[in-house]
Structure formats: structure tokens, C-alpha cells
């Protein structure tokens, strides 16, 4: 009887070890699943972009955080120039209240 309890405890121990290990392994696999962009449908810069996405998410992220603010600043400056050409004062605000 004592042996059975020991055996069961061993089995339980193995189970306790295996379940999280299996789950962690599965989680690892799940994390590894990525969406693959179909680069065959594109040519030129679009093909290069999809290949970059498929090959390295790090470089893809790096390119995104460089392109977005840079383009934002360029387009914002151009729009600002256009608005100032209309004659709007873009440097001061007279209203001062809560």
C-alpha cells in the first residue's frame, strides 16, 4: 500500500513536471508561429519589404519605427509650409485661458 502511494506520488511528480514542460514547449511552438507574407505576388520594393518581414521581424520593426516618424516630420513640414503660404500665423496663439 505504502509502495502504491509512493508510486502514485512519483507519477504525480512526473505529471507535475511534464505538464508545464509540455505546455511551455507548446507555447514556444505557438510563439514561433508567424504570419508569412506571400512575396511571390510582388515585385520591386514590395517584394523586398515582404522578404524583410519574412526574414527578420527585428529589422522590420526597426525600419517601421524609422520610416513612420521620418515621414511624419517630412509630411508635417510640407503641410506646415503650405499653411504658412496661406498666411496663417503658425507661431503663436493669443487665446490664454483654461
Amino acid at each position: 500500500m505504502v509502495l502504491t502511494v509512493r508510486t502514485r506520488l512519483k507519477q504525480l511528480g512526473i505529471l507535475l513536471f511534464l505538464v508545464p514542460t509540455t505546455l511551455l514547449a507548446a507555447a514556444g511552438k505557438a510563439e514561433a508561429i508567424v504570419i508569412v507574407a506571400d512575396s511571390r505576388r510582388f515585385t520591386g520594393w514590395k517584394a523586398w519589404w515582404t522578404n524583410l518581414y519574412n526574414e527578420s521581424h527585428f529589422l522590420f520593426a526597426l525600419a517601421t519605427i524609422v520610416i513612420i516618424p521620418t515621414l511624419g516630420v517630412i509630411l508635417g513640414t510640407l503641410t506646415g509650409l503650405l499653411l504658412s503660404r496661406i498666411g496663417i500665423d503658425l507661431r503663436s496663439r493669443e487665446l490664454a485661458e483654461h
Partner: protein
């Protein structure tokens, strides 16, 4: 009409690209005017245009940094950004956001997290709307009383004055925020940003919708300063979000860039329009936006609770949000045009008199 559709390289879906430009224009205007990223408006819009939800969220966050940077730069010129306050608040926001993300993971283990999160969001938005309209009505009453007594009210007077009590708590270090005109304990903006960051982390939103009123009612910023300073925070959190979602492979840069074409114009119009609108004008329309957002969440809750009505209320929520974006954009654009016309007329008169 094929040229009106662009194939997105990552998501692999064909998108009506003028829709992206229009969406960007609207969100840029609203963001620049109210000081928020506008995730609650963009995500359903992108989803309607045909993006899968995972890409809609990631692309929305990725494009957010662009217009927020443009608006921050413009508001800086107008003297609407307190960088010292913004930087102190970034520390609180980031730590609060991380704590919120941990809290949501704990809530997920309990279950029914979606329902609780939506309900909490609804309570919070109701509170913000109540706060805004109570403040507006108190301010109007003060104005009426002052007029009746033959006095003129101070331009910096407000309806709700909770911030004055909070400023009296002088736990060192006490900091002077020159631009905002506030002297208070540094712990006040840190704790307010931690709290708003925590809520944003739990609710899965950018946080502008709650940080902007918190800056006004708890920290005591004038409305224009709250808009500008909040946009600075949105720009930083937007960049962080863009990096995070792109690393997870959930952003469609081409869509973000097309949106940016519209958003760069919208952000300038929205920011410049704040020149022509009084602080309380901004607050009232902010309150309207919050009510619209709250009603859309009620629709989502009904849709989740009743499978038979799901399709109808899901669509109703999306129509409501897009209708709200259109109405608010039209209002901001009209105020911009009227303001520009007045400014140019005043300049012409001045030149004629000299």
C-alpha cells in the same frame, strides 16, 4: 476602378486606399485638436476597410506616432507643450502601463475578462463625461453670477477646482512647471500618470482619452496645455507601440504610410484649429466624443450578451464611431476655416490701416 485598390504586402488583402487617406485625415484632425491617439476610432475603421483585427490594431498603433509628432511640433510652437511635465509623466505612464498589463493577465486567469474590462471602461467614460459636463455647467454658472454682479471673471477660472486642493499637498520634491504655470509635488503628475497608465494597460487603449481630462482636472493644466502635453506622451507611446507590434509582425506599413498622407494634413488642421477655439469649447466637444465612445461600448456589451443581436449591435457600434469621427472632423474643419478667414481679414485690415 482597380487603381483605387492597393494590395497590402503583409496582410495580403486588397484595400480601398482613398478610405485610408480619409480615415487618416479625420483621425489626424481629432487627435491634433483633442490631444489623443484615437485608437478607439481607427481600429474599427481599418477593420471595416478590410483589415483583419490583429493587423487593424497594430497598424493603428504604428501610424499613431506620425500625426502625434506633427501635432506635438505644432503645439510646441503655440506654447502648448510642457516637456518637463510630459517627461515626468512618461515615467509614470510606462510603469503604470506595465502594471496594468500584469493586472489584466491576472484577470484573464479569473475569466470573463472581456466583460469586466468593457464594463470598467464604460464606468470610466461615464465618469469622464460627467466630470466634463459638471465642470462646464459650474463654469457657466460662475460666468452668469459674475455678469449679474457686474464683475468680469478671471480668464483662468474653472468650474471644477480639484487640482487646487491637490496642489496643496506639498510632498517633496515640489516642482514648478513653468509652461503649464503649475507648482506642485512631483508625486502628483507621477501618480496621476501611473493611474492613467494602469487603466490604459488594463483597458488595452492608448490612454489619451483618460490622460487628457486627468491633466486638466487633477494636475490642473489649462486645456490647450493638456492637449499639447498629452500629444507628446502619445508620440512616445506610439513609437513604443509601433516597435512592439511590428516586432510581433502585426503592422502593415504601407497602410500606415497611406494613412499618414491624410493624417499629416489633418494633424496640422486640428492643431491650428485649437488657436481659434476657447479651452471650454474643446472640453465640451471632448465630452461629446467620450459620450459617443461610451455608447459604442454599450452596443458592444449588448452584442456580447445577446448572440441574436450581435450582428446588429456590432454594426451599430461601428457606424456610431465612424459617424462621430465624421461629425467631429467636420466641426474642427469648420472652426479652422472660420478662424483662418477671421485671421486673414484682421491682417488685411491691419495692413490697410498702416
Amino acid at each position: 476602378m482597380d487603381w483605387l485598390y492597393a494590395l497590402m504586402p503583409i496582410a495580403g488583402v486588397e484595400i480601398f486606399w482613398p478610405g485610408l487617406v480619409i480615415l487618416g485625415l479625420g483621425v489626424g484632425m481629432i487627435g491634433g485638436f483633442f490631444g489623443m491617439g484615437g485608437g478607439w476610432m481607427v481600429t474599427p475603421g481599418l477593420n471595416i476597410l478590410g483589415f483583419p483585427m490583429a493587423f487593424a490594431i497594430g497598424t493603428d498603433i504604428a501610424q499613431m506616432a506620425g500625426p502625434a509628432l506633427i501635432s506635438t511640433a505644432r503645439h510646441t510652437r503655440f506654447g502648448n507643450v510642457d516637456y518637463k511635465l510630459g517627461l515626468i509623466m512618461v515615467a509614470g505612464t510606462v510603469s503604470g502601463f506595465e502594471a496594468g498589463a500584469q493586472l489584466i493577465m491576472w484577470l484573464e486567469r479569473i475569466g470573463k475578462v472581456d466583460f469586466y474590462v468593457r464594463a470598467a471602461y464604460l464606468v470610466l467614460l461615464t465618469l469622464v463625461a460627467w466630470l466634463v459636463f459638471t465642470d462646464v455647467s459650474k463654469k457657466m454658472r460662475k460666468d452668469r453670477e459674475a455678469r449679474a454682479a457686474g464683475r468680469t471673471l478671471d480668464k483662468l477660472s474653472t468650474g471644477i477646482e480639484w487640482h487646487k486642493r491637490l496642489h496643496k499637498i506639498r510632498i517633496p520634491p515640489v516642482v514648478h512647471f513653468e509652461r503649464a504655470g503649475i507648482r506642485c509635488s512631483a508625486w502628483l503628475p507621477i501618480s496621476v500618470s501611473f493611474l492613467t497608465g494602469l487603466l490604459a494597460g488594463v483597458l488595452g487603449i492608448g490612454g489619451g482619452l483618460i490622460r487628457m481630462p486627468a491633466l486638466i482636472y487633477l494636475v490642473g493644466c489649462p486645456t490647450h496645455l493638456a492637449v499639447g502635453t498629452d500629444l507628446f506622451e502619445v508620440a512616445i507611446s506610439g513609437l513604443y507601440g509601433a516597435a512592439s507590434y511590428s516586432y510581433k509582425g502585426r503592422t502593415e506599413l504601407l497602410a500606415a504610410v497611406i494613412m499618414l498622407m491624410g493624417a499629416s494634413v489633418g494633424a496640422q488642421i486640428g492643431s491650428v484649429a485649437t488657436k481659434y477655439v476657447k479651452g471650454y469649447g474643446i472640453r465640451i466637444f471632448f465630452g461629446v466624443a467620450v459620450i459617443g465612445c461610451a455608447v459604442s461600448i454599450v452596443f458592444k456589451l449588448i452584442a456580447a450578451a445577446s448572440p441574436a443581436l450581435r450582428a446588429f449591435f456590432d454594426k451599430a457600434a461601428t457606424v456610431l464611431i465612424l459617424g462621430l469621427v465624421t461629425s467631429l472632423s467636420l466641426y474642427i474643419f469648420t472652426r479652422f476655416l472660420l478662424g483662418v478667414r477671421e485671421e486673414l481679414a484682421a491682417k488685411r485690415m491691419y495692413r490697410a490701416s498702416v
